[in-house]
């Protein structure tokens, strides 16, 4: 992956501008997913992503391979989308107390997880929908860590957040997902006996 990106970048820097299309094709889907998690709007995400790839192209001569190309690209995605959010009046770097690594997980008692089948298609649909609903502060961190399989250090590099802030935001993303999915699972289970009764009548 890294070598392939590097050979394409070398061709682009040697003057073969059209080779850049290969880099765009290789990274556009994952970059688009990150942009969507931040901007929540397909049109805005695609417009931002165009700016990202144009900026990356012009910045290529200054790229020093201290990180992978994808990490560097996601940093541009993150910054461009953060600027777009700021223009909308949404703040991404809220100065909340994020240095609370040691806090104990204590879910509300009415939202204890039921015994559920986590292999079902319904569960997968719930997860997808709730991941899409995650707020812009937490969705991108969850996407980078879970879906793009980046390490904490790489996410720190992409977002410019501290390591503890990344961990806290990831945990809060998980806690939000847990709460939303647990509610839906509980509703589904509560409806099951009623359906059973109706069927038996």
């Amino acid at each position: 992956m890294h070598d392939k990106d590097q050979s394409i970048v070398d061709r682009v820097l040697a003057g073969e501008k059209r080779a850049y299309a290969e880099l765009v094709d290789r990274h556009k889907d994952k970059a688009m997913t990150l942009a969507m998690r931040m901007l929540k709007n397909r049109e805005d995400a695609e417009e931002a992503l165009q700016d990202v790839f144009v900026r990356a192209f012009h910045a290529l001569p200054r790229f020093e391979w201290k990180s992978s190309f994808s990490t560097w690209l996601y940093r541009i995605v993150f910054n461009v989308c953060a600027s777009a959010l700021a223009r909308r009046g949404e703040e991404l770097h809220r100065s909340i107390d994020e240095e609370t690594e040691g806090e104990t997980f204590d879910p509300p008692s009415d939202l204890l997880l039921p015994d559920a089948q986590y292999e079902s298609a319904e569960f997968a649909t719930m997860v997808r929908e709730e991941v899409e609903r995650l707020p812009s502060m937490y969705g991108p961190i969850f996407t980078l860590f879970v879906m793009q399989e980046m390490s904490y250090e790489e996410i720190v590099n992409v977002t410019g957040l501290s390591l503890s802030a990344v961990k806290v935001r990831l945990f809060r993303a998980r806690a939000l997902l847990r709460e939303a999915v647990a509610k839906r699972l509980a509703n589904d289970i509560a409806e099951l006996p009623k359906e059973g009764v109706q069927e038996s009548l």
Partner: protein
């Protein structure tokens, strides 16, 4: 009972727990159903989320990016032609029609009275000169080829249009090269 901290829970979900901690946390999980369910749930969410498809941008996305950073280069001639297509056709048409009329005597023989008008006389004089010049040039050309001078009327008429179109194009190019471009350069300053 004390439950797991955020860090401990996340480390267990992601399988990133240190060896020394592992036995203590596993012992807790054996006793605590609530924490065990949490781990199982979050691992399932991670597995499902990892398998979710990426969001794809629209089909022509790459081409739109490439248009912004590396537009396909056109030759100077092609660019000039595309930019001046309307002018080219307009001038070919005007010069073609003008040339055709000026070299076709029959079109100007109409008159309303027995007395030829000044315009008709002038055109007849012009056509006389044109015919003499043409006969002379064609005769010289045939002499050079070694053929007897003979001009077919049909060939003369049908061959006139392409000759006028080509000469109009040449005139247009010369005008553009030596007049219009100089004017536009002066205007740019």
């Amino acid at each position: 009972m004390n439950h797991l901290s955020n860090n401990e829970l996340q480390s267990l979900i992601d399988g990133a727990i240190m060896n020394g901690e592992r036995s203590r946390l596993m012992a807790h999980l054996e006793e605590c159903d609530r924490c065990r369910r949490e781990i199982e749930f979050h691992r399932s969410v991670t597995r499902v989320a990892r398998a979710l498809p990426s969001v794809k941008p629209s089909a022509n996305f790459t081409e739109r990016v490439m248009t912004r950073i590396a537009p396909r280069e056109q030759s100077a001639w092609l660019r000039w032609t595309l930019n001046n297509l309307g002018n080219i056709f307009g001038m070919i048409f005007v010069l073609g029609v003008l040339g055709y009329f000026l070299t076709t005597p029959k079109l100007f023989t109409f008159q309303t009275s027995n007395e030829p008008s000044k315009l008709t006389e002038a055109l007849q004089t012009y056509h006389g000169l044109y015919d003499n010049a043409k006969t002379f040039i064609v005769g010289q050309a045939e002499k050079l080829k070694g053929n007897p001078p003979a001009v077919s009327a049909a060939t003369d008429e049908t061959g006139k249009i392409p000759v006028m179109v080509v000469s109009s194009l040449l005139l247009l190019v010369l005008l553009d090269r030596f007049v219009f471009q100089r004017i536009s350069r002066v205007r740019m300053r």
